[in-house]
Amino acid sequence: MRSLFYVFTACAVIALAFWAYHENYKTQTVQTEAERLQREISEARARLRVLNAEWAYLNRPDRLRDLAEINFEKLGLLPLQPDQFGNVDQVSFPRSDENETIFSIVNGIEVSNSGALTETYP
């Protein structure tokens, strides 16, 4: 009986030791993984900071103004002027011959807009 108890205890010790060993290695793997992820996060953050800085640098008002001036022929951008404010009722409706049916309104948005433009700014 006693020897059985000893054998059982020894087996339990071996099993526990194996379990602890196993858990230890699992913990270490998880830690390494966590470290790798943290490194990745910090690298991503650093990259994000650089990209943010670059975005801010590329969108600095000086550069945008220069670009607007260089591309004036294509874009025709000018500083916003007070007379560019308008009311909704100043926007002209599409001409009546263009909205006879609902279909023509839906399909004719392009057409009606271009008509409106030429009417407002002849």
């Binding site: 943290q38 900071r49 800085a53 801010a56 640098y57 600095r60 000086d62 103004r65 500083p79």
Partner: protein
């Protein structure tokens, strides 16, 4: 255990036969037994002591070794904590009111050398000079071949430069990681941001500390690791700031001024939306403070908060507003400005010795009559005038959150006499910064509440104590409106259709360092607010030594210099701020009548 008998029979019998005392044998045996017992106990006690000693030794040496290891080893981050991921940068970003980046950090490298480890010092020096043309070749060779063990070569290098140095391949050239402060917008809002530099430096890291502006004022906040991921949000609007700097620069060149400043402030919150001072500098490469000459000529000088000037006639509205508040006059009260005014032995004259005759209070502001406001100041009296200007914050440096603001301490007369009261009523004899003026005009614009200028974004109005009634503020605004809208007003170039600009010009002669005033050097100021029926913003434009040369005679009054610049600024920025131009309500009949 076999016990030895105390009286062994053989020895007793033997002793008896010899006639000896057998008790002696017993005593002898007892003694021997006691001695063995004592020896045993002693050995056991000694063993225990030894054991205890070993235990203590092991315990103390474990602690000692651990302490030694902790003291000697490099500190390591705890491997299993979440805190590490939170700290993103040494220094928090600075953003504008819409979250656009004004200052951020960038990782770069520093370059240092350990000449002892260098293989080819001369060749390395040659190649280094090829990469960095600003390095001194002879000096590098001297440093590399001398007995220096360590030297910094460059504090910050770009990745391309790093690669180029790497390609030299000398083991004595080493890199250390560095975090540098980057201002992506360059010169924009340079005086607000200030700049940053390196504090204590090591090979592996260097402190980034603010050296001026908000960077220095909020240094602790920006360096606080707990708030590292929360950017500091300023009240500045990048777009508006850029537009104002652009127009102001053009105006400064056009008016041949040597310097200019502009402040745009929200009248309800005290938020400074834009603040510009020209000439400016690039905070990425902040120049050193000048060691000689006038510090106010340096680009580092912030005219808007450090420039303490006599702001001239812009102060007149404070005199009339106080007189209205005290009920001494109404806007239509007639004051005789034709009669000479002598105070304390000095004669007070109008600009270019004009004579405006009898004027009502509104026209005194419109025509900017010195004698008119002088007489009003005499009605108010020095004591009450001092209290009023003090309540407007004209005697203290502005509480703006940049370190330079402390340098803008107003100059006020030591004794506030009647003469001081008269001259101060038209802005002479008291020197303030344009920021003080902006705060004062904001009080008129927002209906009579004092406000504190601030660079931090606020949520909603931040009113201080009230110093004038709502109707006094409105009457003052109407008077200021006439300065711009009336064809005879001093600021009639300031009219921007649809925005109802109201304001007051101020022209002050510059004081000579030796005393007295220059004849041909002036500071021109235009303090304005818009839109007048419900003012939202105050704009101050100051030009330093401007001269307008389109006429026969050079013109140096604010109406010809600062006012057109301010009008151009308002025309540019008001649409950007979403202000829709409005058809103005016609002036009230009361004002129409008085102008007749």
């Amino acid at each position: 255990m076999i016990r030895t008998p105390l009286r062994p029979l053989a020895r007793i019998l033997d002793a008896r036969a010899k006639g000896e005392n057998p008790d002696k044998i017993e005593r002898d045996n007892i003694r021997q037994r006691h001695e063995t017992m004592r020896d045993r106990t002693r050995i056991r006690a000694e063993g225990r002591l030894l054991m205890l000693g070993v235990m203590f030794f092991l315990g103390f040496s474990t602690i000692g070794l651990r302490m030694g290891v902790i003291a000697q080893s490099e500190p390591a981050e705890p491997r299993t904590s979440l805190a590490g991921a939170q700290i993103v940068a040494q220094r928090a970003d600075i953003v504008d009111r819409k979250g656009r980046v004004l200052a951020t950090n960038l990782e770069t490298h520093s370059l240092y050398a350990q000449p002892r480890h260098m293989i080819d010092p001369k060749g390395a020096a040659d190649k280094l000079v090829a990469i960095f043309p600003d390095l001194d070749h002879a000096r590098l060779i001297k440093d590399f071949t001398g007995d220096r063990k360590f030297l910094w070569i460059k504090k910050r290098i770009s990745p391309e430069q790093k690669q180029a140095v790497h390609d030299i391949g000398d083991p004595g050239l080493l890199f250390g990681p560095r975090e540098m402060r980057l201002y992506p917008n360059g010169r924009l809002a340079a005086h607000v941001l200030g700049g940053a530099g390196f504090g204590r430096e090591g090979v592996h890291a260097a402190e980034v500390i603010g050296v001026a502006g908000v960077e220095k004022y909020f240094d602790d906040r920006l360096r606080d690791p707990a708030q590292g991921d929360k950017p500091l949000q300023l009240s500045i609007d990048l777009t508006i700031q850029s537009a104002i700097e652009r127009v102001l620069y053009g105006g400064m060149r056009l008016m041949n001024a040597k310097g200019a400043a502009a402040i745009l402030m929200d009248v309800h919150t005290g938020e400074v939306i834009a603040i510009a001072s020209l000439p400016d500098f690039d905070p990425n490469d902040r120049p050193r403070p000048p060691t000689s000459g006038d510090p106010s000529d340096s680009p580092l000088f912030n005219r808007a908060v450090q420039g303490v000037y006599e702001l001239g006639s812009t102060f007149k509205i404070f005199a009339t507003a106080q007189a209205l508040e005290l009920g001494l006059v109404s806007t239509s009260s007639i004051i005789d400005t034709g009669q000479p005014l002598r105070v304390g032995g000095y004669s007070i004259n109008e600009f270019e010795r004009k004579n405006y005759g009898k004027l009502d209070v509104s026209s005194i502001i419109m025509k900017s009559s010195n004698r008119g406001t002088g007489r009003i100041a005499l009605m108010i009296g020095p004591k009450r005038q001092k209290e009023f200007l003090g309540a407007l914050g004209m005697f203290e440096a502005t509480p703006l959150e940049i370190v330079e603001a402390k340098g803008g301490k107003p100059l006020i007369p030591q004794r506030w006499t009647d003469l001081s009261a008269v001259t101060i009523s038209y802005g002479h004899g008291i020197s303030n910064t344009p920021m003080h003026l902006a705060a004062g005009y904001a009080a008129i614009a927002n209906g009579g509440y004092t406000i504190k200028p601030t660079l931090i974004k606020q949520d909603g109005p931040q009113y201080g104590p009230r110093i004038m009634r709502e109707n006094v503020a409105r009457a003052s605004r109407d008077m200021l409106r006439r300065v711009v809208s009336d064809p005879d007003g001093t600021a009639n170039f300031g009219e921007v259709p649809g925005y109802g600009v109201a304001g007051k010009t101020g022209t002050a002669d510059k004081p000579k360092p030796s005393g007295g005033y220059y004849d041909d050097k002036v500071i021109n100021t235009f303090a304005s607010m818009f839109p007048v029926d419900n003012p939202k913003y105050v704009l101050i434009v100051t030009l330093d030594e401007p001269v307008e040369t389109s006429g026969k005679k050079p013109r140096r009054t604010a109406g010809w210099t600062s006012v057109p610049v301010a009008a151009e600024i308002i025309q540019r920025i008001a649409p950007l701020m979403g202000l829709r131009p409005k058809i103005e309500p016609q002036p009230t009949t009361g004002i129409t009548l008085t102008s007749n």
